[in-house]
């Protein structure tokens, strides 16, 4: 096909519909550019006007989220957000790779990690930590076990090989995720604030350099197409649209980027993610209010006969796009060569608003940047209360009435509460030598920063959390609880939240009840942010998470970064020694609604969640945080899933020591009821524990049993050894 033919051929509206555009969206494109788009242009529009790139069903809703904060250095709109900690920029962002992982879990999860790493690298930050939030169907299904095993292997493969520690994460199982698993990956990076890189292309005449891996046909329409429609029976056919990751290539790209930025050789930098060259170039041009000329004939290809539209939409991994002053091009190419990274000068910054695509100098596409990036129609949602019975009750495997000790052991042995060690051990959590608290050691991961002028090492704490069951029961309160629980995790280590990133995993927003979940959950997150006084620094929306049996549980995943003054003064989740005072901090009115026990008893996630008292919760957070920072508290663990009995059992198991406590009641509700983010188990020296505001002494550590008694002398007694063996085997048995 000759180039003039490429440029003139008009695929038409039916082809546009095949590519995921609606007829009215196609008409709008024709109206905006004054003609029908050719093949290259249509391919570009279909991707940039997809849900994944344009957020056309969520943008209006997301405006509710607070995006300003005192410590914010970079916010929404850049490749990742960043906050200031101890004079450094801490960049972070969470992103989903759900649909690719449902189709091919190893590569889907691996490239999810690779993609979020590149977002942080593009800022000029060195990635220092990864966290992952995973959701699968019931592990009794072979498919769920396969997805779990391969997704974990994929995350480890990429993170371990590139030398970025995976320091935390969470895994939940629920039947609603059976055909639509969730793989959300969060990356945290560190940079000097004045070296943070923007993505805006500027300077007419500056060159555009593409570097990294070769461009191939892999992943054409991958993330952007997969992420913008419901999964169906023909998913296997979509396997070729899943990208293939190469962590070695990305490791070289990482070092190249940091050296280029460190040597002040770049004007702007952007990673190539979903929609490849199309979205990266359009975003850079739009941010810089300039045009770009790109010659696809200069792009190094894996397959020689690729069409211009294929080159523009390829989602080959491990590629970056940089804008470089002409005088520095040679130096840039030299750094790339040193790291054995392929680089090509493929175009230049132009005046105006045109994204011109050329092949060997001949124009094959020409569209206004603003039309591509800003003119996609935004849709109003039609939010309605989700109907009762939206989520069928899970199969019951525990009786309504049961012996409390047996119930506790059964909960701990269940896949949702069992020890995550068999998964965490597959991740390198210590590379880069700053991990002060590894997974399982504390409620949040603690990462030491360089020694300050005062000789003290400050630190950051990071955590990721979500609870779809509670959001299903009440989207606003459930989402607010997720924010509080994440902040509670940080408080346990002595850290105070500075910013939040979220990944909103929901079903099809064109359905009113899903829209209702989304709008209410965003409201809950916004309320949580406002209460904590922190901004949302960025994030990602993953919609259309529905399978043949219905939508996933609404699953907003919250990632948080907090600061602490001294890395050497923090806590652990486990009891540290015998003879320490055990106390509760925080008001606590738990209920069994949407709890882990309710699910095990076969109850759908429905009912009234306990009323939120955000002020009281934050007072408890502050009390615990200060007590940890002062050294008074050596053990701190928030009471979340599985309730107080589970929290105490976890403290015992992780510390290999028992405890004896007395609480008001040992009813199921008191032992296993949930009200996350509000209450903590703490332990330490008795005089110091008594001095914590709001602390309620309940007992003392010691012995080989967990003993929970009420005031009438009724007791639940469970051997720590039994707790440990229940926890240890609960997830392990589902792994190969």
């Amino acid at each position: 096909m000759s180039d003039s033919h490429v440029a003139d051929h008009v695929p038409g509206v039916e082809r546009a519909v095949d590519l995921g555009l609606t007829r009215s969206e196609y008409d709008r494109i024709v109206e905006l550019i004054g003609r029908e788009p050719n093949e290259v242009e249509l391919a570009m529009f279909s991707l940039l006007w997809s849900e994944h790139c344009a957020y056309k069903h969520s943008k209006k809703v997301l405006r509710r989220l607070p995006t300003e904060g005192e410590r914010l250095l970079l916010g929404v709109g850049e490749n990742a957000g960043a906050v200031e900690v101890a004079g450094l920029a801490v960049a972070f962002k969470v992103e989903s790779h759900n649909h690719p992982s449902a189709v091919e879990p190893f590569q889907g999860a691996a490239t999810g990690v690779g993609g979020i790493l590149r977002d942080v690298i593009a800022l000029g930050a060195r990635p220092v930590a990864m966290l992952d939030s995973l959701r699968f169907g019931d592990p009794s299904s072979a498919r769920s076990r396969w997805l779990l095993d391969r997704a974990v292997a994929g995350i480890g493969h990429y993170g371990n090989s590139i030398g970025v520690p995976t320091v935390g994460g969470e895994i939940h199982f629920d039947q609603s995720y059976e055909s639509n698993c969730l793989v959300n990956a969060m990356c945290v990076g560190i940079a000097q604030p004045d070296a943070l890189m923007r993505c805006a292309a500027t300077g007419v005449g500056n060159r555009v350099i593409l570097f990294g891996a070769l461009t191939g046909r892999d992943g054409i329409g991958g993330a952007s197409v997969l992420a913008s429609a419901e999964l169906g029976d023909d998913d296997a056919d979509k396997r070729p649209t899943v990208q293939i990751g190469d962590p070695f290539a990305e490791k070289k790209v990482l070092e190249t980027c940091l050296e280029l930025i460190g040597s002040d050789l770049l004007v702007a930098l952007q990673d190539l993610g979903a929609a490849g060259l199309t979205s990266s170039s359009a975003e850079m041009a739009a941010q810089g209010k300039v045009g770009l000329d790109l010659d696809v004939g200069l792009v190094p290809l894996r397959e020689a006969d690729m069409e211009p539209f294929e080159i523009m939409v390829s989602e080959s991994q491990e590629r970056m796009l940089a804008v470089v002053e002409p005088s520095k091009v040679a130096a840039v190419l030299e750094v790339c060569e040193k790291w054995e990274v392929l680089a090509a000068d493929i175009g230049c910054v132009t005046e105006g608003d045109s994204l011109r695509i050329l092949r060997d100098g001949v124009e094959v596409g020409n569209v206004p940047v603003t039309t591509l990036v800003d003119d996609c129609p935004l849709y109003d949602l039609d939010p309605q209360e989700p109907p009762a019975g939206l989520y069928p009750p899970p199969p019951a495997d525990l009786p309504e009435q049961g012996d409390s000790a047996e119930t506790l052991l059964a909960l701990l042995a269940g896949p949702n509460l069992a020890s995550r060690t068999p998964v965490f051990e597959q991740y390198d959590s210590i590379v880069q030598a700053r991990t002060v608290r590894r997974p399982d050691q504390a409620d949040a991961a603690v990462l030491a920063l360089p020694v300050g002028a005062d000789g003290v090492r400050p630190a950051i704490a990071v955590s990721i959390d979500g609870n779809g069951r509670r959001v299903a029961a009440n989207p606003r309160v459930g989402a607010l609880e997720s924010v509080l629980e994440c902040a509670a995790n940080l408080a346990c280590t002595g850290a105070e939240a500075l910013g939040l990133t979220n990944c909103l995993n929901f079903g099809n927003p064109e359905k009113p009840h899903i829209a209702g979940q989304l709008v209410a959950a965003v409201e809950g997150i916004a309320q949580g942010c406002e209460a904590l006084g922190i901004p949302v620094v960025g994030g990602n929306v993953s919609l259309y998470n529905e399978g043949p049996t219905g939508p996933i549980l609404p699953t907003p995943v919250i990632g948080m970064v907090g600061e602490m003054p001294d890395a050497s003064v923090t806590s652990r989740s486990g009891f540290a020694a015998e003879g320490q005072a055990v106390a509760l901090v925080g008001t606590f009115e738990p209920s069994l609604v949407a709890s882990e026990l309710a699910a095990r008893r076969g109850h759908a996630p429905e009912g009234e969640l306990p009323a939120e008292n955000v002020e009281a919760a934050l007072a408890a957070h502050a009390a615990v945080r200060e007590a940890v920072r002062s050294g008074a508290v050596v053990t701190a663990h928030d009471v979340s899933e599985g309730g107080l009995a589970t929290a105490l059992a976890e403290c015992c198991a992780l510390g290999a020591v028992g405890c004896k406590v007395e609480i008001g009641s040992i009813s199921d509700t008191a032992l296993f009821g949930e009200a996350p983010g509000r209450c903590f188990v703490v332990a330490g020296d008795v005089a110091e524990i008594e001095a914590i505001p709001g602390a309620q002494l309940i007992g003392v550590t010691g012995g080989n049993d967990l003993v929970i008694a009420d005031r009438d002398g009724d007791r639940v007694v469970v051997a720590v050894a039994d707790i440990r063996s229940a926890r240890d085997g609960g997830l392990k048995r589902y792994l190969p």
Binding site: D246, F248, K251, D428, I430, A433, A567
Partner: protein, 223 residues
């Protein structure tokens, strides 16, 4: 005393190893593409995934220009320490006996582990006592050290087994619980555990520092 830390494309632990070395001596990175060792007194071949571990861990790195120089350096008695991927590279290069196979569990495994010093008379263990237990993490997929039974006997007779995992703690199924070995001359040592990730109690343990401080012991250099 100046220690050189080799940097391959795909090395991940080289800066951590450099920082560990800097706690006891001067240290610098050595680029894989150069045969110039810059006159260093000792060399660390660090962990990571050199050249992406393509083909087989260490199989490509052992052909890099810097390894030519390292082989010369070792032949002249210079102290060389290979950690994890570095151990794999040194085995591939024939500078250390045995081979590293996939873990028994077939998976990457990251775990704090106790190892026991069996031979304190190498330049990298001179600060340790025989039988001393060190808490040092492992993190690898291909860490199951293997040799045939005859070779193992020979190595044991020659006192070339430097570290073993503490009883019950072998994370990968290595023959004889071997965690680290040395060359016949004793100047080249390799181990799967990561001493550079055990140089500060803040991040878990400082036991690994002993390997680096050993190099300052009398006679450690120029064995």
């Amino acid at each position: 005393m100046r220690i050189g830390v080799v940097r391959f494309p795909g090395s991940c632990d080289e800066t951590d190893a450099l920082d560990a070395c800097l706690k006891v001596a001067d240290a610098e990175l050595l680029w894989h593409g150069s045969t110039d060792l810059g006159g260093v007194d000792a060399i660390v071949v660090p962990g990571g995934f050199s050249y992406g571990d393509y083909l087989r861990p260490g199989a490509i790195a052992r052909f890099s220009p810097v390894m030519e120089a390292v082989a010369h350096f070792a032949a002249e008695g210079g102290p060389v320490l290979g950690i994890c991927n570095g151990f794999q590279v040194l085995c591939e290069a024939g500078l250390l006996p045995g081979a590293l196979l996939t873990n028994n569990g077939l998976r990457f495994l990251c775990r704090q582990t106790d190892i026991v010093v069996e031979r304190p008379t190498t330049p990298w263990t001179a600060a340790c006592d025989a039988g001393e237990r060190l808490s040092i993490p492992v993190k690898h997929t291909t860490g199951r050290w293997y040799s045939d039974p005859e070779t193992l006997k020979e190595l044991e007779a020659n006192e070339q087994i430097v570290f073993r995992y503490a009883p019950g703690q072998n994370p990968n199924g290595s023959v004889g619980d071997v965690a680290g070995v040395c060359s016949a001359a004793g100047n080249v040592v390799g181990l799967m555990p990561h001493p550079e990730h055990a140089v500060d109690v803040l991040t878990g343990s400082a036991d690994g520092l002993k390997l680096f401080s050993s190099i300052l012991s009398k006679g450690a250099v120029g064995v």
